[in-house]
Symmetry: C2
Subunit: 160 residues, 2 copies
DNA sequence: ACGGCATTTGTTATATTGTATCATGCGTGC
DNA sequence: GCACGCATGATACAATATAACAAATGCCGT
């Protein structure tokens, strides 16, 4: 059995707390958490699930902000760099990191039926990947694990 | 240490053998391996590294074939379905599977310096993922593992 | 406060990747 | 041969992401 931490995205379910934590973090590090960056992060948090770049753009505009795609992508790059946001390559979407201040390798369980995504942090997976890469002489910068399948809820309801 | 199989893409390095094997496989299964499908697979094999859909399209046209993007994507879907080709979501590229007839979970080591991709098949990673997903009640259909980093060659040459 | 510098954002245009839709071809089996 | 199903063609378009340069904004030393 694996050393296994299972987050059901409690962090993201309370955007205000997450935002306050981000404010504190950036205050501490001195990195600039500009209004635009903060708003984009808030949009991602409030989405509560993975959201596309153009959806973010649309919501920015709803708030009276005129913005171009590039603005969103720049902010996304920043937030990913700062480890507050993950990019899900398989579905071209972005979601808030569950535990941004605790550096960790994350794995994502993506439900093909309902579209929900659960972030897990399984150290066994992490370790196995590190070991496998090391054997190949490969220096890992970012291990991406996106597991497509059917979540427990959908499996139970027979949706897939 | 992990149970570790390391393929340096020997399969793809001999396109003719791979094509012959594919011919035999489809002959056996009765699934239609049409000229278009065969040609696309050959293009991917001869590329020897991940190749984009539009690059495939271009090479089809080089061979006097007039084709639209959709044709390429349809064939790619087919080849992926048949497990002869992998899609690399992080870099939007496609590559020939090392051992198509042996169902396996694959992991990819993607070098950010030279762009090379090595397919490995580490059972420890595979097992850890299966176990982690099971704990979450998640039924896996396709586990995607794409590890970004720097390959041994580039690390040695100090390219990154 | 001011000027110079770096970082961030705006603006415009474009590149890249992937699909929808309907028509046509083409082989297989009756 | 012809009806059916699958594969491909043709046309148009959607979705995702980046390039290049200009303007603004904050930071820091003086």
């Amino acid at each position: 059995m694996s050393v296994f931490a299972h987050h059901t995205h409690d962090f993201a379910s309370d955007p205000d707390t997450a935002l306050a934590a981000a404010d504190a973090f950036f205050q501490k590090t001195g990195v600039r958490f500009t209004p635009l960056r903060r708003r984009v992060f808030e949009i991602i948090l409030r989405a509560g699930k993975p959201i596309g770049a153009y959806d973010i753009l649309e919501r920015l505009r709803d708030h009276g902000k005129i913005a171009a795609p590039i603005s969103v992508y720049r902010v996304l790059d920043f937030l990913i760099e700062q480890r507050f946001v993950h990019r899900l390559a398989t579905i071209n979407a972005y979601m808030a990191c569950v535990t941004p201040e605790d550096p960790h390798a994350a794995q994502f369980l993506i439900c093909q039926s309902c579209g929900s995504v659960t972030e897990i942090s399984d150290q066994a997976v992490d370790k196995a990947i590190a070991e496998g890469a090391r054997t190949a002489g490969f220096r890992v910068s970012y291990p991406l694990v996106e597991i497509m399948g059917v979540c427990a809820d959908c499996a139970r309801d027979g949706k897939a």
